[in-house]
């Protein structure tokens, strides 16, 4: 039989083991609670990030055209106007007709690189070189993003012509650049066929001072379709690498500014201007 002392020690060991077991169980419970908490926090953050990304990402919004409305629309129109204010326009050309340097901008309104270039790089160049009368910018059509491949070649070309002619028709009222800027600001996922007739008319309606009825009539002008086709033929013949392709022409010659790379800073443009001036 165990002595009294041994019995005491056994009881103590059993108590310690019990306490250790309870402590380890409590720790496990706490760990699982923290694990659940971490998952809950992560799920909340992911959902918020996805919602923020989708709402800024150009997915379809409430309105069937997906165009900006209300206060946001007014802010957008006024920001576009502040870039183009008081700069002469004629057709698809922005700037003084007597400017010594011409920058031809081959673009596709659905092209995301053109969006980045037009909204992030072009405004400061326009303020510095176009507003001062030194350079004029001529927009020319080249199907890239719209002809990406989701639709048949014929269908893609139809979409492309529809949107480019819509913008060119605004140019007949000297508002091509307002149209193009508003399009780029509200651009959706390329080659999804979103630029429907109602989308294009919606943009026209956003432009202050544009006579939408006249614009609708001008869209049927065959000379605009001819110009879009001529631009594309030129781009193919010149073997332009993609959009935006920028060609600077001045008294000292002609230079392809970007050779396939996206122009991300205004300095690339001003260097080209200096080279041909």
């Amino acid at each position: 039989m165990a002595s009294r002392k041994e019995q005491k020690e056994q009881a103590r060991a059993a108590r310690l083991a019990q306490e250790q077991q309870a402590a380890s169980k409590a720790q496990r419970t706490r760990r699982f609670q923290m694990f659940g908490g971490a998952i809950a926090i992560a799920v909340i953050v992911i959902v918020v990030a996805i919602v923020a990304s989708s709402s800024g990402g150009g997915g379809p919004k409430g309105a069937h055209t997906g165009l900006t409305t209300g206060k946001q629309e007014r802010q957008l129109v006024s920001s576009v106007d502040s870039v183009l204010n008081k700069i002469p326009q004629s057709g698809t050309t922005l700037g003084s007709p007597t400017a010594k340097v011409t920058m031809q901008y081959f673009g596709d309104l659905e092209c995301p690189y053109c969006q980045v270039f037009t909204l992030d790089v072009l405004p400061s160049f326009v303020a510095q070189e176009v507003k001062t009368g030194h350079v004029k910018v001529e927009y020319r059509s080249m199907c890239t993003a719209t002809c990406h491949g989701a639709f048949s070649q014929q269908q893609s070309q139809k979409f492309f012509n529809l949107q480019q002619i819509a913008a060119a028709a605004a140019g007949k009222q000297n508002k091509f650049w307002q149209y193009a800027d508003l399009f780029y600001h509200q651009q959706k996922t390329e080659d999804t066929g979103y630029a429907t007739n109602s989308f294009l008319t919606g943009i026209a309606k956003q432009i202050p001072g544009l006579n939408v009825q006249t614009w609708q009539t001008d869209r049927k002008d065959p000379s605009l379709a001819d110009q879009v086709n001529a631009d594309q033929q030129y781009a193919t013949k010149a073997n332009l690498p993609g959009t935006p392709s920028l060609i600077m022409t001045g008294p000292k010659g002609t230079e392809l500014v970007n050779n396939g790379n996206l122009v991300t800073s205004e300095s690339q443009l001003t260097t080209a201007v200096k080279a041909v001036s």
Partner: protein, 163 residues
């Protein structure tokens, strides 16, 4: 080098040696960090320099993804958010080692899970909305996938037995 800094380095080295899981976590975090740092650099200093396979419109498929509307959240590039996430993971390892092991491990798992979830969403967008794949983004997504598994195991396992 001071004696304190030297002993801290020795402690870190022995911790890594004693815990291979931590070693793999540090490896994937470093790869992901460098990947996100490169994407952030390219975002701010020129898309033209993005090295990537595949092309559309005369541009690499990475440029297509990087200039898509999903490449930013409220004007903040997702590459930068990824970079911040990897820095957060390094901070969580520091917290584990120096302040509170359980809290640091939970923090690491939480950050990795957020990174994994958002990477999965962005990969979905690449495949079904942008129709282009950026290898650098996929690289980061793979790192986050490994990290979420490893940090979950590490958290549920608790402190490794020391020798």
């Amino acid at each position: 080098m001071s004696a304190t800094a030297g002993s801290a380095q020795r402690a870190t080295r022995s911790r890594v040696r004693a815990d291979p899981l931590l070693l793999w976590i540090l490896i994937f975090t470093t790869i992901g960090f460098l990947d996100a740092a490169y994407l952030t650099y390219v975002h701010y200093y020129g898309l033209g320099s993005l090295l990537c396979i595949g092309a559309s419109h005369g541009h690499s498929s990475c440029v297509t993804v990087q200039s898509s509307p999903w490449s930013k959240i409220d004007g903040v590039p997702v590459a930068l958010l990824g970079l911040i996430g990897y820095v957060g993971l390094f901070v969580s390892y520091f917290v584990t080692a120096r302040i509170n092991g359980e809290l640091g491990r939970a923090m690491g798992f939480c950050i990795a899970l957020i990174g994994f979830g958002f990477s999965a969403y962005l990969t979905y967008r690449e495949l079904f909305s942008i129709h282009a794949i950026c290898e650098w983004c996929v690289g980061s997504a793979i790192c986050m996938t490994f990290l979420v598994v490893l940090t979950a195991i590490r958290f549920l396992r608790g402190e490794p037995a020391t020798t």
